[in-house]
Symmetry: C2
Subunit: 161 residues, 2 copies
DNA sequence: GACTAATCCATGCAGGCGCATTTAATCAAG
DNA sequence: CTTGATTAAATGCGCCTGCATGGATTAGTC
């Protein structure tokens, strides 16, 4: 049998889609205007910078960022191309490799976080009290069924889409 | 001066991005598995079907759906190509045109809503009480600064991204 | 009416995504 | 050690998006 959603559920769905799109757009615009690359780059650089030794297997990166395999592969391409990361041989498993963040990568990550955090404050923080932000988190988490990760700050935020 | 976001605000931002992505992905998967086209098509067909005479100027569609101009232009291309809509001459303003939904278009919209509503129930409705869904709406709306439209059901939901 | 500005829509191009497949290496059995 | 299944990563293809631009028409001003 087919249950139909309540109007409340439908309204929540609409808001979730629309508001996310707006807020994401606004934040990405801010970053772009400041001359920075897309948020996905930030996420990847953050994960790498956090990893012990500043290096990670693509598979790990993929799991952290919750993006498909081919997507990480290409993201790494771009990071390497810009000198923000480097591919390194993986001796214990020659199918794979390590991706290591460079100094330029670490530097960019830090500079981006400065602009990024400002944008978050502008488009989210300033519109919600801490208590309300926490409530919002709680409600959203319930939609995430498998709410695995409690990501710490600064955020590996965007599933980039 | 640069204000930094609270950890609550940052956490809310992360959830907003991650959960939206997951829920959207889940709903789109359901639709795709049922053999339907992307959600954006549904939104367009819904707007058209609602419009008086079943026709709309691209400009109107653009405003309703909150997507960029070129995006509507190409979306219309695809709808026309599939026989779901037709371009018609606009006599009062020869720069423009009308897009009119076809019978096939109306039919598809109805069939999609059936699958779509089921998916919304599955991925949103079933996880939140009506009261909580309403709370979520309220909180999200506050992020939308210019909370212009109170969209009615069924939803013109997705800003498709 | 003539000229400039603004509006409506289409489109070429570059880049990114999703899908499916390929290549290479490891693992699991016999 | 050989075979077959599995996993890691890359890549070719088609579609979609964003950006910038172009062509056509209308509106505003004098």
């Amino acid at each position: 049998m087919k249950r139909k959603p309540s109007t409340e559920a439908t309204a929540a769905w609409i808001r979730l889609m629309r508001i996310q799109s707006r807020v994401l757009g606004a934040v990405e615009q801010d970053l772009k205007k400041a001359g920075f690359p897309p948020l996905a780059w930030y996420d990847a650089l953050l994960e790498l910078s956090r990893a012990p030794g500043g290096e990670l297997r693509p598979v790990e990166l993929e799991k952290q960022m919750l993006i498909p395999q081919y997507s990480t592969s290409r993201l790494i391409d771009r990071l390497v191309e810009e000198g923000l990361a480097a591919r390194r041989e993986c001796k214990m498993d020659k199918r794979g490799l390590f991706v290591e963040i460079t100094e330029a990568g670490r530097d960019l990550q830090k500079r981006m976080w400065s602009a990024y955090s400002t944008a978050i404050e502008r488009h989210v923080g300033s519109k919600l009290s801490d208590a309300d932000a926490a409530k919002l988190c709680g409600l959203l988490d319930r939609l995430g069924c498998s709410c695995d990760q409690a990501t710490p700050v600064p955020p590996s935020a965007v599933a980039t889409r």
